[in-house]
């Protein structure tokens, strides 16, 4: 057959990806359909007359049969139409897009910071294994993992926003209005999110590197005439990155979870807060849309990581020797 094993591998992963998403969508829909609480009633509040509520229900198409609603939903999403928010009366896709402009950069910043801070620390610790530096760094990492990021966020605000007034306590200026301000708004939350992840990365990197340092090819490299640290640096780090890559993939899930909490602390208009408010307002359409987007994001990252593996590790490029 004409297809190369690599493309087959790709196709298989993507097929798996699709299946996962479909099932996820189904689950989300089922769960949300069971949600107690009548959105119409909520929108109209205490003194609304029954007719008014009924009228709104009809408007929102809440009286169609479930399977129909599901299929419409899926079909719509494939066409990029996520439906109309029941409380905000706006295209869900737009709402989500707005929020993504906050959550995505935030996650990215956190990712980058955690990598830029975490990996070097891990490497340094591994190089100085057993020495004071190692111990100090690892104690630091231990603490970093242990501090709840929302709490850390609050402490950060008190120091840098309230006391020093270097950065805003929260809130978000849209990018197109003032990119600089937008960025400054994401610094503290970014840090708060990054701390635990950086610590985890540091620990993983260290362990991985220590393991690799035991490998034969490090000895070979030394036999060729490298000092131990040269060998670890030139041959070890790249090999050690493989396990780190997996963790990076998983971390995305943690980060998403983190944003939802941190966005509350810093009153950022992100996807997390959107879901949160949407849920308390029984905005099924919106919750669905937002959750599925998060699920897609997470799953996509996993897929990405898998593919990265293929790139970094020649053994996974399946062309026969």
């Amino acid at each position: 057959m004409g297809v190369s094993p690599m493309t087959l591998f790709l196709l298989r992963r993507i097929a798996g990806f699709a299946v996962t998403l479909f099932v996820a969508a189904l689950i989300i829909f089922l769960l949300l359909d069971l949600l107690p609480g009548d959105p119409a009633r909520f929108i109209l509040g205490i003194n609304a007359t029954p007719e008014a509520v009924a009228a709104l229900r009809a408007q929102m198409g809440l009286d169609a049969p479930a399977h129909e609603r599901f299929l419409n939903w899926i079909g719509g999403m494939l066409r990029g139409d996520f439906g109309i928010s029941s409380t905000q009366r706006l295209a869900v896709s737009e709402l989500i897009a707005e929020r993504m402009a906050v959550t995505l950069p935030l996650t990215m910043i956190a990712m980058v910071v955690s990598v830029v801070v975490g990996l070097p620390i891990g490497i340094l610790a591994a190089m100085r294994r057993g020495k004071a530096t190692d111990t100090a760094l690892m104690v630091l990492a231990q603490t970093g993992v242990a501090v709840p990021n929302f709490w850390f966020g609050m402490l950060l605000t008190l120091v840098f926003a309230v006391t020093l007034r270097w950065l805003p306590t929260g809130g978000f200026i849209p990018w197109d209005e003032d990119a600089g301000a937008a960025l400054r708004g994401l610094v503290l939350p970014g840090l708060a999110l990054a701390l635990p992840q950086a610590s985890i990365l540091a620990r993983v990197m260290r362990t991985a590197l220590v393991d690799v340092a035991e490998q034969d090819f490090i000895r070979t490299a030394r036999a060729k005439g490298m000092t131990k640290s040269e060998a670890i640096w030139r041959h070890g780090v790249r090999n050690a990155l493989l396990p780190v890559l997996t963790i990076l993939g998983l971390q995305f899930a943690y980060l998403i979870a983190g944003t939802i909490i941190v966005e509350n602390v810093f009153y950022l208009p992100g996807l997390g807060r959107l879901i949160f408010t949407a849920i308390s307002e029984r905005d099924l359409v919106l919750v669905r849309g937002a959750t599925i987007v998060l699920v897609v994001a997470t799953t996509a990252t996993m897929l990405l990581v898998d593919l990265c593996y293929g790139l970094v590790d020649p053994r996974l490029r399946r062309q026969g020797a």
Partner: protein
């Protein structure tokens, strides 16, 4: 002045003394072999010369290279290593960086030793010297065969034009044929380059074939050293004597009774083939691999048939199908009149055949007592009483020359040889008729191989067992088998009694195998 001069070297890990008071001089241009079993400290000695001992090692005594003591400063030691010493390790797969092409890795070696300005040229020159096509430079380790990898390792070791090459079990991870070619390669290179060689091995014949002088190590001590010929012809130390003895295998005499030709066929393999596909439920992806291809063979009761061939020729797969660990894609087997295709082997038949694995260390669950492990196959006999069970276990373990008391112990309390005995005991506990032995001794130290083979022979005689031996070790086969089947690429290519087959090999593979045999020592 000696190139390497080791004076009273002692290496200890915590309490354990791995090398004790070892002194040794290796002259320029000689090829020195160090023989010893696993744990004898031979590798550590080599690492000590290259200054590559793990930090956890405590070293006393001194090692002189070209008359000067090895420098303590890591940089100087590194430079010395890089410029003057080349090393080849046992397992080329793990010794090469999986993420770099071998070209890159050789290049690196050249740059580090600053032996050549025009690096690319040098690379292809080296590859050529070790008999690899220049094209292979672009390959990654996992894309090469074991032999090719080891050649690449050697090329890398040569990059610095070293005075001394240390080869630590360079061939024991390779199969017979490649093993021989690599050995030849090493010796020719040493001759051509007038390079001093330290060759570490447990295989006395390899050492004999390659080295001018040898030293014998045991439990961290150098028990004997001298010119190869002398040592092997007239060993002084008993241990050396044992080793030499163990390396020779006399053809064992079979009672003519078992050799009559009209013996009933116990197992018939009829056109069995096995095709492997890449993973699971995705049909038709990944090119199918024919591991076993239309194999026809018959084994008579009481017979001992050997299946030989290079690694990856499908002999192990065939064995697994026969004992029912794997399922034939086509064809069938008939055991004692009952037909089956592998996994559908009915319990009672399972009880009638068993398998002894190559690696005695992985064949016992570390968390189960010997009794539990040995008892497992008794399932196949359905419900049996406690006493019956006891009796069976005792019988089995005593049959292999161990004490019933040992049943209560755990695997880690036994040596390799003992474990293999236990493995055999487990194979016997159901009183099977056919025993399949997959490389039964290749993982064992030379000195115990003889005993295990003798044990197998005895058991066959006592219980009238039928053996199917899977092996690449022609001497062992010659010693044990009544009939030999040669297998290549999943097919049986030649068959015959050892005598005739080894005397006049027909098939090129058989010829190659014969050619690869190392000469008997002395």
């Amino acid at each position: 002045m000696a190139l390497v001069d080791i004076r009273d070297l002692t290496i200890t890990f915590g309490q354990h003394e791995a090398v004790s008071g070892l002194s040794l001089r290796i002259e320029r241009g000689e090829r020195f072999g160090i023989i010893g079993e696993s744990g004898s400290g031979k590798s550590l000695t080599a690492l000590a010369i290259a200054g590559l001992l793990p930090e956890s090692a405590a070293v006393s005594g001194q090692v002189l290279f070209e008359g000067t003591v090895l420098p303590d400063d890591e940089r100087d030691m590194t430079r010395l290593r890089g410029r003057h010493i080349g090393m080849v390790f046992q397992e080329p797969m793990t010794a090469l960086n999986p993420l770099m092409t071998i070209g890159e890795q050789i290049e690196e070696a050249i740059r580090l030793s600053e032996t050549s300005e025009i690096v690319p040229l040098a690379v292809s020159a080296l590859l050529d010297e070790v008999g690899l096509a220049p094209g292979l430079a672009a390959r990654y380790p996992h894309q090469l065969s074991g032999g090719q990898r080891q050649r690449a390792m050697i090329a890398m070791a040569l990059a610095s034009k070293p005075e001394l090459m240390i080869a630590d079990e360079p061939t024991s991870a390779l199969d017979v044929i490649t093993q021989r070619t690599v050995l030849d390669l090493i010796s020719t290179i040493c001759r051509r380059r007038h390079m001093t060689l330290i060759f570490i091995s447990h295989d006395i014949r390899a050492v004999a074939a390659l080295c001018t002088r040898i030293g014998v190590m045991r439990a961290g001590e150098l028990v004997e050293q001298g010119v190869t010929g002398d040592v092997l012809r007239a060993p002084v130390a008993d241990y050396t004597r044992e080793l030499v003895a163990a390396s020779r295998m006399e053809r064992r005499l079979r009672s003519s009774a078992s050799l009559n030709d009209d013996r009933a066929a116990l197992l018939r393999v009829e056109g069995v083939g096995r095709i492997y596909r890449q993973s699971g439920i995705w049909p038709g992806c990944g090119a199918p691999v024919r591991a076993v291809d239309q194999v026809e063979l018959t084994i008579g009761t009481g017979e001992c048939v050997a299946l030989v061939g290079p690694s990856g020729c499908g002999k192990t797969t065939l064995a697994r199908i026969i004992v029912g660990l794997d399922k034939a894609s086509d064809g069938r087997m008939v055991f004692d009149g009952t037909a089956y295709d592998g996994s559908n082997l009915p319990p009672l038949l399972r009880a009638n055949m068993s398998l002894v694995f190559q690696d005695p260390f992985s064949s016992f669950d570390p968390r189960m007592t010997i009794a539990q492990s040995l008892g497992e196959p008794l399932h196949l006999l359905g419900r049996i009483s406690g006493e019956e069970r006891e009796a069976r276990l005792r019988e089995a373990i005593e049959a292999v020359g161990l004490k019933a008391a040992m049943l209560a112990r755990y695997p880690h309390e036994f040596s390799g040889g003992q474990r293999q005995r236990l493995a055999i005991a487990r194979a016997l506990v159901t009183r099977p008729r056919l025993v399949v032995l997959d490389e039964p001794v290749s993982a064992l130290d030379v000195s115990v191989r003889g005993d295990i083979l003798a044990l197998l022979a005895r058991l066959q005689a006592e219980h009238g067992l039928t053996y199917l031996i899977i092996s690449h070790d022609l001497d062992m086969v010659a010693a044990m088998a009544d009939r030999v089947l040669v297998m290549e690429k999943g097919r049986i290519v030649e068959e015959g009694t050892p005598e005739t087959l080894f005397a006049h090999p027909e098939h090129p593979l058989t010829k190659a195998l014969m050619a690869a045999r190392l000469p008997e020592v002395a």
